[in-house]
Symmetry: C2
Subunit: 349 residues, 2 copies
């Protein structure tokens, strides 16, 4: 018999995404029986609140997952690699928000608006895609269904919260230093695991994550490979340039697409997107209505606007896609996957 | 007989670009006989320095241009429309940094690295292109010459100084307010002439200048139309998405191109660009070397990096182009035009 409430563990509860996971579980009133907040040894002992009740964060160990039905992981790839299989071994379904398993052919990579039914193929672990990928595929999927999709060229405008709470602090400290006429210290961005660090305040850094041999960054390759996997289009042409900006939260994307069928009008695409799940259309140039992070942050939807025809190619379109990278890009998509698991009778069955 | 020094007027001397014009004329040791600093009535009376000497800014009138050989205009389109012909009537050559005459078929639109010889066709006025256009065409021209150019898709990351000194102040005030936990006031950006104003601090605004009927902004149409004119390629496919960011000075551009000839290697393009005029190649991913505004500002060159092949199209390439929008994007390109006029014996002949 299907349970009506579930034991849920949040791994990485003290992080930027973990905190949004708790808020989202609360705002969605997810049917939780027992809640466990887990973290690294370093953060263990911290107190967090859920529905007004205090919880002490515990160090995540294999045994932490006894009797857990659903484990939401967002504590870095190494933690997921170490502990996700331990959770599965003990009967939990893992929704993993790191890149550890995303390209594993046995792990579904899911954005519910696009490929919810892939959840049926899970083997214990379900991967939550990269933040910048998620918001893009939500906007692309209705267009793919209606007109077919041939090529995608995306340039991103990404917030520092994607690099964690420490990156937010670094940006704010640098910003204040520069406003004070002082030198800015850079120790984290663009990528804590890389050799050099650059000032993000009042700057644009064309590097997110480490460089790969082909000259693309890992973030760019994530967008390319994950988009193909989620949309089940191994032959889709995708290229990405990922850029970090002095924005606290909210990713924006300038997306150029070529469709298979030519000639759809902008109005037809607007109508299509405005009636598609998870999308809010914000597109009225006369009234200066377009998506911005200042209006998107704190909301679950993907905001799409500035839709216009390419001036040369009959099947070319440009658009501007904005979403909260901690919500639809991470916490909300993970909780949404959990809700889909419940709906599809896949959780604790 | 060719003169060896010239009477020069700078119109809009107190503005963001005007101040850089003075610095650039000084650093280039432009052969000035008499210097006149002109402005609107509002700014007249201000004191500015050139080579250690104090100058009093005068209100620009038709008579201001008597005996002037070279007039550098950067005081807004309406001032240029009113006074450029008055200057020409009195024998001056005008280098105009506004959009007033750029698309006039009788006015050359010049980036010296690309189309210096168009200066020979001038009728008194020479237009300096839009900042975001200039840095892009400098990077594109060597590729066009070697491989032919078919399509350009650009997404920009533009600094607030392109909107003037008041926009810089607004950004700084908003930034400090937000760091203090206060409300940010927006009265200028994205576009002082438009109805609504939005916070630029910690935000990305996909609007620069006013919207046109086709859904593109005027800034985007400037990039599209000016690129075709400067490169003498009316059939070049160009599309642009222009975005304002919380950066004081320095524009960045994510550029996707398709060439006519296929198969050039990244190394061949790097070699080509590193030996081309006005370009500094900064492209070593292993060492995290790529262009950024923090390293480009204050320099005259266009910085190019992150050059890589499109993963799907044989003739597709991506690159990242950064330059100081007040220098190569405005003041330096104008002074460079003036230097070309001297070199080509076109000034005060």
């Amino acid at each position: 018999m299907q349970r009506s409430t579930y034991n849920v563990a949040v791994v990485g509860a003290t992080g930027a995404v973990g905190q949004q996971m708790l808020k989202t579980l609360e705002s969605r009133d997810f049917p939780i029986d027992q809640l466990k907040l887990l973290s690294s040894k370093r953060s263990a002992g911290k107190k967090l609140y859920y529905k007004g009740q205090e919880y002490t964060v515990e160090e995540a160990t294999p045994e932490s997952f006894e009797h857990v039905h659903l484990a939401l992981f967002s504590a870095g790839g190494s933690v997921s690699k170490l502990l996700a299989s331990e959770a599965v071994k003990r009967g939990a379904i893992v929704v993993d928000n790191t890149s550890a398993f995303r390209m594993d052919p046995h792990v579904p990579l899911v954005v519910p608006e696009v490929n919810e039914s892939d959840l049926n193929e899970h083997n214990g672990i379900i991967a939550n895609p990269n933040c910048s990928t998620i918001q893009m595929v939500v906007a692309l999927e209705p267009i793919r269904q209606q007109y077919g999709l041939k090529k995608v060229v995306v340039s991103t405008y990404q917030a520092v919260s994607g690099a964690g709470l420490e990156a937010i602090d670094e940006m704010k400290e640098q910003t204040q230093a520069i406003l004070n006429g002082e030198q800015a210290k850079a120790e984290i961005l663009p990528c804590s695991g890389d050799k050099k660090h650059y000032q993000i305040a009042f700057n644009a850094i064309p590097q997110i994550d480490l460089f790969q041999e082909n000259g693309y960054t890992f973030e760019e390759m994530k967008m390319i490979n994950e988009t193909k996997k989620i949309m089940h289009m191994s032959d889709l042409e995708v290229a990405a340039t990922c850029v970090r900006l002095p924005i606290e939260t909210g990713h924006s994307e300038s997306v150029y697409i070529e469709t298979n069928k030519s000639g759809a009008t902008v109005q037809e695409i607007k109508d299509l997107l405005s009636s598609s799940p998870g999308i809010t259309l914000q597109d009225d140039p006369d009234q200066q209505v377009y998506p911005m992070v200042t209006t998107a942050v704190g909301k679950n939807d993907v905001f799409v606007g500035r839709i216009r025809r390419d001036l040369d190619r009959e099947n070319g379109y440009h658009m501007w896609v904005v979403s909260d990278n901690l919500l639809k890009g991470a916490a909300w998509n993970s909780v949404q996957i959990a809700e889909s698991l419940v709906k599809l009778n896949l959780l604790a069955k």
